[in-house]
Assembly symmetry: C2
Homo-oligomer: 295 residues x 2
């Protein structure tokens, strides 16, 4: 079985877990719940909860304590997409071929649905204490979840990105944006999996570095594909970054150097993973897949 | 000393505690932090953290574990005001005589500042585990914080309110809106204080009912003042609800009955407080003040 089919199977497994945490569409607040579920169920590979679960398994984790965290990180990812799509932000009408949340439910409900999902993420993750009351690992995982989603994580990267539009961006600021905007949630996913799975401190540090490298390689690869990719294969128009006058990794380092950098960063990530005594073949395949290596 | 002066002194005490939790305005994400702090520092009586602290003291609490929760509930209150003021919601340019956040920082930054504060609220409250690691009361308090702010609390009430604009609203729906939109955060404040202060289950139940009554009485009184108040004393225009075709408690029950109801609800709340063996004279004064009784 190829990695694509394997990922697909795991996506189904993850979906089965996370949808259990969606609220029923009832009560006077029904509309916002519909809007939240509409966005949450828009599909995607569920990479963040998948990375979380597989890192948890890498360290021998096998309890359901991980499940509310899997749902929570996908809720945070979804809320960020809803708010990114709003007219005051990227003003997008479509995402993954479906109308965006504010187009279907109106702008006020789009704002509230995003707020609702961010809040529900913490409400849901806190349910892990029902499985393991007083477990300090759960408390630590909650702190990672909050830290990496907020101003020192994903949201911080998003702010710097919004402010950079139409302006020249230097390498330091671009690194900041890349590390936080995409990297912070990937790090959150893998690190929560490691912490709850019982990884030692040094191993948590390795996982954290791997996750940052994977996030960075994933994003540089995206920049390269926007310049040099095949529109038919990508399923989206190429050249959008140049059109939007967006500074990317390729703008700053050039196409050739960017390709070399992805290779180096990917090799570093894979080397780090191999330094761990634990093994999870699917997780290795998934990481290779994310950073665009076919072998 | 009159209750107003007492409240003022306590506002200063609470401010001194909660501002310690504001993030420094630095880094590439500086603008959003400025916007968050601008909103947070816009003043107000800090009633929610004050109610939390005084309920905590009522049950004998005297540790700093309450402090991050005090900051967190004010962050949640502030985020809800920022998002309420957005053009897609109430579209307000001014609040407490200052320009609203999106007017000063732009709409995108207004959305992100609200998101940032909601996220920071949980990040901050989780710091209570630093003071008391593994304490199940902290876990319980976190769950109350999340539950009462989200779709089954404040946000749920806000959604029902937004959807009711320009539509006839029945008593059941109005009760839902009142209980959740204002009441849920007041209940959250007092209940977290009670839980962390070590109140027994039955006492927590009493506090929960008192908080709901106080929230309801506070809001009905606001409706009455909008019809029958003195603009000069209130410092805001009266008759705004009628102008906005807003169904209020007074619309449904009439002025006279509403006044009787406030009296009955207030008496019930005060009777419940008196049923507790513990005593905090300032908290009693504060509750009287909130529900508009001068004696």
């Amino acid at each position: 079985m190829g990695i694509k089919e394997e990922v697909k199977m795991h996506t189904e497994e993850v979906e089965g877990i996370i949808i259990k945490y969606l609220p029923p569409e009832e009560g006077f607040q029904k509309t916002v719940i519909e809007a939240m579920n509409y966005s949450f169920l828009a599909g995607g590979k569920r990479l963040r909860p998948m990375l979380m679960l597989e890192t948890y398994r890498l360290f021998g984790g096998e309890s359901t304590v991980i499940e509310p965290f899997m749902a929570a990180i996908e809720m945070i990812h979804t809320y960020s997409l809803i708010h990114d799509d709003l007219p005051a932000m990227d003003d997008d009408e479509y995402r993954r071929g479906r109308k965006t949340t504010h187009i279907v439910y109106g702008e006020a409900m789009g704002i509230l649905a995003g707020d609702g999902l961010l809040n529900l993420a913490f409400e849901t993750a806190l349910r892990a204490f029902e499985t393991e009351p007083g477990n300090p690992k759960v408390a630590r995982a909650l702190s990672i979840l909050a830290h990496n989603a907020g101003i020192y994580g994903m949201l911080g990267g998003q702010v710097a990105d919004v402010e950079s539009e139409g302006m020249p961006v230097g390498q330091e600021k671009l690194d900041f944006i890349y590390e936080l905007k995409t990297g912070a949630l990937i790090e959150s996913a893998m690190l929560i999996g490691a912490v709850l799975g019982g990884a030692a401190e040094a191993e948590q540090e390795v996982i954290s570095r791997v996750a940052k490298d994977v996030g960075l390689a994933f994003q540089i690869r995206d920049d390269i594909l926007d310049v040099a990719g095949d529109q038919a294969v990508l399923g989206k128009p190429i050249g959008s970054d140049e059109k939007n006058e967006k500074t990317t990794y390729v703008t700053l380092r050039g196409l050739e150097q960017s390709a070399k950098d992805v290779e180096a960063i990917s090799n570093r990530a894979i080397g780090l993973m191999q330094s761990l005594p634990e093994e999870n073949p699917f997780l290795n395949g998934l990481l290779h897949y994310l950073i665009g290596r076919t072998k």
